[in-house]
């Protein structure tokens, strides 16, 4: 199972008409089995890329092949839909259906026609997302976390070999996020899981591979630890009383009785700053800092990025 994206560009027409809005710009990405974290700022093109992969949108140019099926063809689209599980970024469920009914409905639409199989899958998934006890209650009565869990349960219907989840933990409390990460980690198997998120911790905990989109292009693709190393030698803690360099990116700021302590990623040594081991967040900041000042580099499969 592999997803191959080559030269994919997506331009949305605008009301003004001229040229349109280029959201993806020549994306090249090969994704193998396992979990891939998809990172990027708001508007970087993550959701558009996911909608292309789920066949909801079609690319303006370029080619997407999933498990040998070309999404430019009707048979290809139909075949991929049979392999697909999708959790959109925002998912407003039918409030008048119960959790069980909603899953049964989606299972039917996904083509799980056999009643016994469908009931077993729905029951198993409700158990898996810990919603069995409220399965007969209407979704309108569910909390945000419960709705999100119903969302992931529907994505898993049919045991999809391509699972695409868009910001699944947004708005969840820490306990729900941990539960969700455990669920994703337990999926395993021979499937491609693409997890789009703003929450770097989710990627650090769950995804061995990561791709970063910046302004519609792939700024990084490789090992997650490789992204962290982008900030190696460039991450500093600046104690209170010292200035933050203008060209540094502030990753974190902590207010102490003595003043504010900054954690920064800087392309050059910081006077008074103490070098520290980078985290994924630092690496991501370093990459975006670099992307903002230089032409975006193509996927770096070696897993390291050096900031200038």
């Amino acid at each position: 199972m592999e997803v191959s994206i080559s030269g994919v560009t997506k331009i949305f027409k605008t009301r003004a008409g001229k040229g349109g809005r280029r959201v993806l710009d020549g994306i090249d990405l090969d994704v193998g089995e396992g979990m891939l974290g998809l990172l990027g700022a708001n508007g970087a093109g993550k959701t558009t890329l996911m909608r292309l992969l789920t066949t909801v949108l079609t690319p303006t140019s370029g080619r997407i092949v999933v498990d040998g099926h070309d999404l430019a063809t009707g048979p290809g689209v139909r075949a991929v839909k049979q392999l697909l599980g999708y959790l959109p970024q925002e998912l407003s469920l039918y409030p008048d259906l119960t959790g069980w009914e909603f899953l049964d409905y989606v299972a039917l639409l996904k083509g799980i026609g056999d009643k016994v199989t469908r009931r077993r899958q729905v029951g198993d998934l409700l158990e898996r997302v810990s919603l069995s006890e409220v399965a007969k209650e209407r979704i309108a009565t569910y909390s945000g976390g419960m709705k999100r869990r119903i969302g992931i349960a529907q994505a898993l219907l049919g045991d999809p070999r391509l699972l695409i989840v868009d910001e699944p933990t947004a708005g969840l409390d820490p306990h729900e996020r941990m539960r969700f990460r455990s669920l994703l980690a337990s999926l395993g198997g021979r499937r491609v899981v693409i997890l789009s998120t703003h929450i770097l911790d989710d990627v650090a905990q769950s995804c061995p591979q990561v791709a970063v989109l910046s302004a519609g292009r792939v700024a990084y693709h490789g090992a997650t630890v490789g992204l962290t190393s982008a900030a190696t030698g460039h991450t500093y803690l600046i104690p209170p009383g010292h200035d933050v360099p203008e060209d540094a990116t502030v990753v974190n700021a902590v207010t102490t009785p003595a003043g504010t302590e900054y954690r920064v990623v800087s392309p050059r040594a910081v006077t008074g700053g103490k070098p520290v081991e980078p985290t994924l967040e630092d690496g991501y900041a370093a990459l975006l800092h670099r992307s903002g000042t230089e032409p975006v580099a193509k996927g770096n499969h070696g897993g390291s990025v050096v900031i200038s």
């Binding site: 066949t55 999708y86 989606v106 083509g111």
Partner: protein
Amino acid sequence: MTTATVPRTLFATVRYEAVMAGRARVLWWALVPLTALAVLLATTSPNVVGSAEPVARVANTAILFAMLCTLGVAIGLTDRFVGHRRSGLTDLLDATAAGGTVRLVGALLGALAVAMAVPVGAFLVLVVITALSAGSGAVLGAGVVAVVTILLPAGLVLSTFTALLGVLVPPAVARVLTVLAWMWATVLSPALVPIPTITGTVLSPLGHYPAAAWLHESQAAATYGLDGALRPAVTTGSALLALLVALAASAVFLALTRIRLALAR
């Protein structure tokens, strides 16, 4: 979408849209009072009970139900398709093997089946009472014909029309426009208002032509006593034409709804 998935998708959407429609309070708030009013008028109005001929009484009752109850059905279903534009849900459903057009048709049929069950049920009760009091089995047959040729087409046209409005303008505005359009198409004849209307023509979805052709209603009732190219003599052909127009209009409204939903992606 393969041919094998079409029946399954249709079944799934009919089933669950029916469940959701049945649980929507607005439908019952709109439908129950209007059905009650229709029953009251059907049992007291001289236009209905004054008909000596039982089949004509069935026809007049059906016209009354079509005029009032389908309005309740439409008002209750105006925002059914707005749900198809719920954030993320459209993407999710589009990513399944189920086609959007089949889902839309299933959603319409499911919601309409639940909504029409109330007026059709009440109507058939009145038909049975009429048949018993007249001692005529033919009245029962007339009741079934009236459901098929008057109530269901009227419900279909108005539901698809209001569904289209529901995806174009806010539901409250759509409901007001639906009522106005229904009045224009079924009640306000050019003899009453100084504007062209389709009331009393073969384009009107109220079912007067089938009622006159097959259920002993008068030609004058079908055409409101007016002449014109759109008011041909009542025959089986003109009644079938009226039904065809209703079905075609429904198909057009549904197609436009589908296009609007697709453009909203």
